[in-house]
């Protein structure tokens, strides 16, 4: 954290220096890269407003010579199906994402508070163990979890946990929420622990002397002070779950599929139906883009805290 604050403090001075260092060549180079990074996205975006036959017969750059605009592609996604329509898939995405972001943060908050503020033997070891669990790739978890959800867990011939639906994939969302929750916990606990343990001891002591218990302190002191981290982590988790394809490929049935899975199917099956793919893709990325632009500040802060351990 100290490094970040010093960054903020000296930014103005640095800016002054950089003015003198700045070179038009560097700016030109940056603009070239920015154009390269934006052009493919722009091409698809523009195409989504062109008539279907135009998209497949002429390049989007010819649009400027012969502009023809239509919303038909977006209308077509309302009815075009790969099992379900794109709008239904968007609702599925929201259904998966909201609990898939909220639940892990809450569970992680409870654990991180105890790890930061309740002293017990083995505390540090437990924290390190949870931190280390970040290394487990998602691919290690998929098959055993699938078996657990569908077949349950039996010990000595007795079902300890019967699964979400007897011997088949449940057509609910429980297995998707749960998988996202479990795989998110190590990073969530790590980030929240860093943030909670940065609260000055005096504040916590004062609250305890005033007679507040842990439950009370968590609600009225720790949570408000850790709110920036909670917010940035929530945004991450939201984007991560919304953009996920792997978990939903394994754990959703046809009618529960989120928009990423539908788009992947459309790209595979009707690889040439570009009028659906262009419009569908933009419907799918509009939500993360809104979240990103509205909450960019939190997003960047979370990124810095998460990867450089501020």
């Amino acid at each position: 954290m100290s490094r970040l604050t010093s960054v903020a403090g000296s930014t103005r001075a640095i800016r002054a220096t950089h003015k003198t260092l700045s070179s038009p060549w560097a700016t030109a180079g940056a603009i070239v890269i920015a154009a390269l990074w934006t052009l493919p996205t722009f091409g698809l975006f523009l195409s989504s407003f062109r008539p279907a036959e135009d998209i497949t017969t002429s390049g989007w750059w010819t649009f400027f010579a012969h502009p023809r605009v239509t919303l038909d592609n977006y209308a077509a996604t309302l009815t075009a199906t790969s099992g379900i329509t794109v709008p239904q898939a968007l609702i599925n995405s929201l259904t998966i994402t909201i609990p898939g972001a909220l639940i892990p943060i809450t569970v992680a908050l409870l654990a991180a508070y105890a790890l930061a503020w309740i002293d017990f033997p083995g505390r540090h070891l437990l924290f390190v163990a949870i931190f280390a669990m970040q290394i487990v790739p998602l691919q290690m978890l998929l098959v055993p979890l699938l078996r657990l959800y569908t077949g349950g867990l039996t010990v000595g011939g007795v079902a300890i946990f019967p699964g979400f639906a007897a011997n088949s994939m449940s057509d609910g969302f429980a297995q998707v929420w749960l998988t996202h929750t479990m795989s998110a916990l190590p990073l969530a606990i790590f980030m929240l622990h860093n943030s909670l343990s940065a609260i000055p001891t005096e504040i916590m002591e004062a609250a305890r002397i005033d007679g507040a218990g842990h439950g009370r302190i968590l609600r009225s002191i720790a949570l408000p002070l850790a709110m920036p981290t909670v917010a940035s982590y929530a945004i991450f988790q939201f984007l991560w779950v919304w953009n996920d394809l792997l978990v939903s490929t394994i754990f959703t049935t046809g009618k529960n599929a989120p928009v990423t899975k539908i788009l992947a199917d459309l790209a595979g099956m009707y690889g040439q139906q570009w009028h659906l793919l262009t419009a569908g893709t933009f419907l799918a990325i509009i939500v993360p883009l809104i979240v990103f632009f509205a909450l960019q500040r939190f997003f960047v802060r979370g990124l810095l805290a998460g990867s450089t351990k501020g």
């Binding site: 490094r3 493919p40 654990a111 998929l142 098959v143 916990l185 953009n243 990325i285």
Partner: protein
């Protein structure tokens, strides 16, 4: 729990979300109330503590939906709860403390054990079993991966290595140069957003964007890349068919999505380089290239490593790009994709799948270890 979730699944989506969140928040509220109540003094609260310690695991087990024959599990839960109560009562640091601690950490620990520890062990074991998961076959699955005729195993391993070598270096390199260039420009904010934006776009969306860019067809081109080739008088190429060219074009997509991440982090690090250092070098007459090499790079070296390691780990696990664009055709498969494909074959090749997953796991370890060491030294 099975009944609750089946009931939930029968409702419309819009209703499911508030219901499941409400149910979850009720559980959390109960836990917090119990945390509050646990340490209170008085004989009555001793009984309350005993009820919490023994009742909580028993009720939690009941929620899982145990079979009738599993009474011993309830017994085990009650004994463990009783043990916790006994330890708590003997604790010198005050009654209720251990019970509070258990209430705080048990949901997370339970989920981590069920969702991470248990599956990891299962997959490690499955990597040494045949496809039924019952027959121990030693290293045969790994022999399959490393044998040239392995139908996807070896090529996916080789490709993954190429991904991990190329993608992180490219993304970190471009991100660093870009961070440096925009750092000196007037439109810094806008230029940063343009490169950063792909981070919020899913790899699925990004893959479709680039698939369109790479499109190949007879006659009029609609993919910009082939049009550029045509403008220069070349013949359009079916980019995604030729190995290893197609693999590098897929790597471009990951680089495109990760460069923004590298750029934001490195930009913050560059701004943290002490002004005095840069100024002193300038006064000494160091060119901007020399300042870059001898002052900025050494100052932000730990950050560069963290970024590089993070993107390496992302590259190791990549799945979406392959799934959307080639489905592993034309030799483009990677470990993260092949693992899923092997499992979705009929019949599922569980052993091969587990071996590939374990290989990803093994390849991730050195990166994380290196990262942890760098972070530790940095502090």
């Amino acid at each position: 729990m099975q009944a609750f979730f089946s009931w939930l699944a029968s409702l419309p989506n819009i209703v499911q979300v508030p219901l499941v969140i409400a149910a979850f928040l009720v559980v959390v509220a109960v836990i917090i109330v119990l945390i509050e109540v646990a340490p209170r003094p008085g004989t009555a609260y001793t009984w309350v503590r005993a009820a919490i310690a023994i009742g909580f695991p028993v009720i939690a087990l009941a929620v899982f939906g145990l079979e009738a024959g599993a009474a011993w599990v309830f017994g085990l839960g009650a004994v463990l709860g009783g043990g916790l109560f006994w330890l708590d009562a003997r604790s010198t640091k005050g009654r209720g403390r251990l019970i509070q601690l258990a209430l705080f950490v048990s949901p997370a620990l339970l989920l981590l054990i069920v969702g991470l520890v248990y599956p990891t062990i299962k997959t490690i074991v499955a990597a040494f079993m045949d496809k039924t998961g019952n027959q121990f076959i030693g290293l045969d699955n790994f022999v399959w991966v490393f044998s040239a005729g392995g139908n996807g195993g070896l090529i996916s391993l080789i490709n993954t290595v190429v991904w991990v070598v190329v993608a992180p270096v490219a993304a970190t390199g471009v991100g660093l140069i870009y961070a440096l260039w925009v750092d000196r420009s007037r439109a810094e904010k806008l230029l940063k957003v343009l490169v950063f934006m792909p981070m919020s776009i899913s790899l699925v969306g990004g893959s479709i964007i680039w698939k369109f860019f790479y499109d190949y067809r007879q006659g009029n081109q609609i993919g910009l890349l082939n049009q550029i080739v045509a403008w220069f008088g070349g013949e359009p190429v079916n980019w995604l068919q030729h190995y290893p060219l197609n693999m590098f074009l897929l790597i471009v997509i990951l680089v495109w999505s990760q460069t923004g991440f590298a750029m934001v982090i490195l930009s913050a690090a560059i701004k943290g380089v002490p002004v005095e250092l840069v100024e002193a070098a300038q006064i000494d007459g160091a060119s901007s290239a020399r300042r870059f090499r001898h002052i900025i790079i050494p100052s932000i070296r730990p950050t560069i490593i963290v970024v590089w390691v993070t993107i390496s780990i992302t590259s190791l696990k990549v799945y979406d790009v392959i799934a959307v664009i080639t489905a592993g055709q034309n030799s483009t498969s990677v470990l993260g994709y092949e693992m899923v494909r092997q499992f979705s074959l009929m019949p599922p090749q569980s052993g091969h799948s587990a071996a590939l997953a374990l290989l990803i796991f093994i390849l991730v370890i050195p990166f994380i270890a290196y990262n942890a060491r760098t972070l530790k030294r940095g502090n």
